[in-house]
Subunit: 376 residues, 2 copies
DNA sequence: GATGTGGGTGAATCCACTC
DNA sequence: AGAGTGGATTCACCCACAT
């Protein structure tokens, strides 16, 4: 397979269509060398939870960590897990766009190490998210609380880039018009959604529910974006990405998982374009400058504007600024000034008189925007 | 004060009654030298979170958010925070009985580092617990999910000792006979419970709710046990311990907090054997948002909804919003919009077709709620 | 007294774009 | 790239006070 390439020439030669919507076979770090720098919009990672349970733990060099309960060796295994985590996180950041974000899911066995490593590498945590399970496995021995949740971390590749995708308005509208919280409630993946192998056994031990991935993708990607899953497993990320009109790239080491995921994704019907458009809010609307209203004579120079209670007033000047009591400035600056505040939205603060009633100048802006839409 | 003693003779000479049910003034690590080895049954720690805040944050109404910018929360680097964490954790383990347990609370700013350090020091994590807040502060800028929870870690001092206290049956009985989960729901501390200073301002910026501490103490201690809080602050741990018939030891650096906590605890009436309505806390709220139906595939994107008389229609989009004739929004907003009203209950207004009959989408919500009732 | 209204506030890593 | 500026942005609860 093409998963191991020279490090000196990280594969810009490879055309996107060679890896887009495919599963690359190989170890996560090596396989990611097949992807160019800054080529994916979002990453969802469900890394091995490993540790104390005696499962196999591989060092980055692929050697197997000898599981011993000797204290020193346990320390060594934490170090090995941390090195593994650093390696795949660095590989992920290279292929992630500066405006992209990374999601990781884990349990208390590994999530603290992953989170600390993220911070050490100067990823910038945006939220930690709790997936509350409606139907978690009970605790059988009655010596602990029922482990009823897993933790996700959502992070940007560094603290500076604030341009990441977050579909705030759509999430809020879908959530009964209140903003989405950091605690989510979903059932675990079971029943017909759970992938079975030819023997009727579950095909993958940690298959995640599609609803969880759907919320993640709807929150932090746009239609057409490229989503990378470096621990592809049963391919939930790919299946949901295809259904929601996003592209995917998967990395997976085991052929049996690749086969199962390939079949699964082939059966997915993508949703139509009309159902995929994302609700946007005011921030996405075109800018309209106040002087446009003056220039187009919707507000004449000399007009007196007031606040809703007529406690403050200002006069519109021909250059699109306001003046009041020796002060002058933009509708925002002067609105702030007359109230003694640092900031003010002049569009909603200032009102004009129309047939005896006070109306915010924002209604005039809305008219301008409506006119612009016909042009578009 | 007696907080700094020689390291060579760690104070076994000090009789318990000299520190039991008192607040030791001083730095956490130094002050703990006043306590003998293996002398406390449980530790609750609310360490500085190391928030890294930027500039001032204003609410939409321009009011200023009162940020936690205290000196004690400032650290030069992650390395410095880690060193601090190691030091107090080691000091805590020395004074903790082998059968005791340790609780730490934090947010995503610090909890991953604390958890990783716990593991590095061979503490044995028993659970991570999520405190879901009923009334968290909103996200004001709409660039992240509302940060609606904090995380606690419950750990034994090492993997070997299994004799820690966990009152499984009492918790289960208090929880409608189902075992207590790892996600807890409590309001933040406010109102009359919130300690005020002489100016009516909050006495401590991060006072924790008594209900949270009550559940922790009821879960992991027995009456008469000794509970240590190395970051005593406003003394919630002490107040709850006294009320529930446990002993406490606090460590606190600032005299103002010591004074406030002392007065607070003095006013606490210990409970007799009367019980614990606090224990159950709030039940999970049954609110179900529309996107849950979409994410769980009960309503597929592309489905057409109508009102009961089929006079209006709208299409369900994958983001959990509705669209109709160029307009889009939540089920409530769009319901209002198509009727020309200010408000509308989308749950009862919009209908879907089921076997030829129109049914309000509220029946689907009822189904979800029925499934959730097991959780409540 | 019951009800309604307006104001305050909580561990927060909280803007985007142009020049 | 750093400064300047337009202008978008909140949920649940408690309390004081008015009706």
């Amino acid at each position: 397979m093409s998963s191991v390439l020279t490090k000196t020439k990280p594969s810009r030669a490879i055309a996107p269509q060679s890896w887009l919507d495919t599963i690359i076979k190989g170890d996560c770090v090596a396989a990611l060398e097949a992807l160019p720098d800054h080529s994916v919009d979002m990453i969802f990672a469900d890394p091995p939870y490993n540790l104390q349970l005696g499962g196999a733990l591989h060092r980055p060099d692929q050697s197997l960590v000898d599981a011993v309960d000797d204290e020193w060796d346990q320390f060594a295994s934490f170090e090995a897990y941390d090195a593994f985590t650093r390696a795949w996180l660095l590989a992920c950041r290279r292929v992630l766009k500066p405006t992209g974000t990374l999601w990781v899911i884990g349990s208390y066995h590994n999530i603290f190490r992953v989170g600390a490593t993220l911070q050490d590498l100067h990823f910038w945590i945006l939220n930690d998210i709790v997936w509350r399970k409606t139907n978690p496995m009970p605790n059988f021995k009655g010596r602990r609380f029922q482990n009823a949740h897993e933790t996700l971390i959502w992070a940007a590749p560094n603290a500076k880039h604030k341009g990441y995708t977050f579909n705030y308005d759509a999430l809020k509208a879908a959530n009964d018009d209140v903003q989405m919280r950091s605690d989510w409630l979903f059932p675990i993946c079971s029943g017909s959604e759970r992938l079975k192998d030819e023997n009727g056994q579950k095909a993958h031990p940690t298959q995640k529910p599609e609803a969880l991935l759907a919320r993640i993708l709807m929150a932090s990607t746009k239609p057409g974006d490229i989503v990378l899953d470096p621990f592809f497993g049963s391919g939930t990320t790919g299946a949901v990405a295809k259904r929601l009109g996003r592209h995917f790239v998967g990395v997976e080491r085991e052929q049996a998982y690749i086969d199962a995921a390939t079949r699964r994704i082939a059966a997915v019907e993508p949703l139509g374009k009309a159902t995929l458009s994302v609700l946007t809010g005011k921030k996405a609307e075109p800018r309209v400058a106040f002087n446009v209203l003056v220039e187009s004579d919707m507000i004449k120079p000399g007009t007196v504007l007031t606040d809703a209670r007529r406690r403050h007033s200002a006069i519109v000047r021909a250059d699109g600024t306001l003046a009041s009591g020796g002060e002058a400035g933009s509708i925002h600056r002067l609105g702030a000034r007359v109230q003694g505040l640092d900031a003010c939205n002049g569009w909603t603060f200032w009102h004009y008189e129309d047939e005896g009633a006070l109306k915010p100048i924002d209604v005039l802006r809305a008219k301008v925007r409506a006119g612009l839409e016909k042009l578009a």
